[in-house]
Symmetry: C2
Subunit: 207 residues, 2 copies
DNA sequence: GTCTATAGCAGGATAGAC
DNA sequence: GTCTATCCTGCTATAGAC
């Protein structure tokens, strides 16, 4: 009944909704089911959230905030191996895999109007790839676009796909998930990461 | 009334369903809407398809068959530049972008039981990457798993993501789609494709 | 804050005429 | 093959008691 309970209930709803959305998709999940699995009354959900959209948007805003916090966290002392850094990033993203799946599903839809997926990409890129994202105000130069495309399609996309498809891939190919993580890290190091190492701090691959 | 009409109607339904599924997702699309937009009666859909699932499964089987045909098509004479080959593959995939979006959305769901996404990946990998996929019968060796993981996460995934996110990316970053295609091809060449060139057995193209 | 009850409608699916 | 009409379930959302 106090603020504590309010937040607990709200968080319980969000947690269950996140699981169900990632399991069955947003439109495939009913408020009834969320209420049932969260052990709360259906009407209570409408006390805490305006409508169904409000639930998923709250989840998106939450993950964006958490990613921002992660990217501005205290960095450990000394130089960290780039591979080690990626491993940490993967561990973080893995713990958010459900909402990332939902975000990806929704961003694939044509009607999707919010840009959480790109926002999320920018945070990951800025943070882990150590690339300075050009300020989004003002016109984006062709060089910036080239850089962002590179980071997005050969950096962020493999990373995020690894996180969201890891389990299914392991099951399908009867592969130990830990082995898969090693395989992925090796490939990622040999492709995206080594393309950075070759050409100085900011990547400018141009003949 | 003849077989011709039957196929025309069936195909019209499939075409509209594909558009709507990619626009609004499978669960976000109603049979009513498909019927309305296809200009046919709702009951007619149930004459041609067992249920809603039958529609999406037909679409998945169709794209798999088309991809198989594409991969066994007559190859043009002479050596083709690897980049040119990828451009062709992208053009093919782009023409199928709607169903690929749907396939990706569905494969992200936890409850997704069919493996069309992985089947599709194997076709693209086998075909365009010129990699011999290990026969899926029998246990898969660690080396095969490593190879497949590499091709999947740093080859297929960027390729397919480029196809399905190209338009949204261009809009979001105010980038000309044709420029983006160039940027992507450059990055893809510098990462995934050059990782093949370095390490021997397959492929021999390098400027 | 949390519940009961229900409105109100849209969805998937079918029966049966033509 | 195609249409009209309809069933009925399950959905989102709200009113109102406690």
């Amino acid at each position: 009944m106090s603020r504590n309970d309010t937040h607990q209930t709200r968080n319980a709803i969000l947690k269950v909704a996140e699981e169900l959305f990632s399991e069955k998709g947003f439109n495939g999940t009913s408020i009834n089911l969320i209420a049932k699995k969260a052990g709360v009354n259906k009407a209570l959900i409408y006390y805490h959230f305006k409508d169904k959209d409000d639930i998923i948007n709250s989840l998106f805003e939450l993950i964006i905030r958490e990613a921002e916090q992660y990217s501005t966290r205290a960095q450990p002392e000394g130089e960290m191996d780039i591979r080690e850094k990626i491993e940490q990033e993967i561990a973080f993203l893995q713990s958010k895999q459900n909402i990332l799946k939902v975000m990806m599903m929704e961003s694939l839809k044509g009607e999707d109007q919010h840009n959480y997926f790109f926002q999320c990409a920018e945070l990951v890129i800025k943070n882990e790839m150590e690339v300075n994202i050009p300020a989004s105000e003002g016109p984006t130069s062709a060089d910036n676009q080239r850089l962002m495309a590179h980071e997005f399609f050969t950096g962020f996309v493999p990373l995020i796909s690894f996180v969201v498809f890891r389990e299914k891939w392991s099951t399908y190919y009867h592969c130990d998930p830990q082995d898969l993580t090693r395989f992925f890290l090796d490939s990622f190091t040999n492709t995206h990461l080594s393309s950075k190492a070759e050409s100085g701090p900011q990547v400018e691959n141009r003949p």
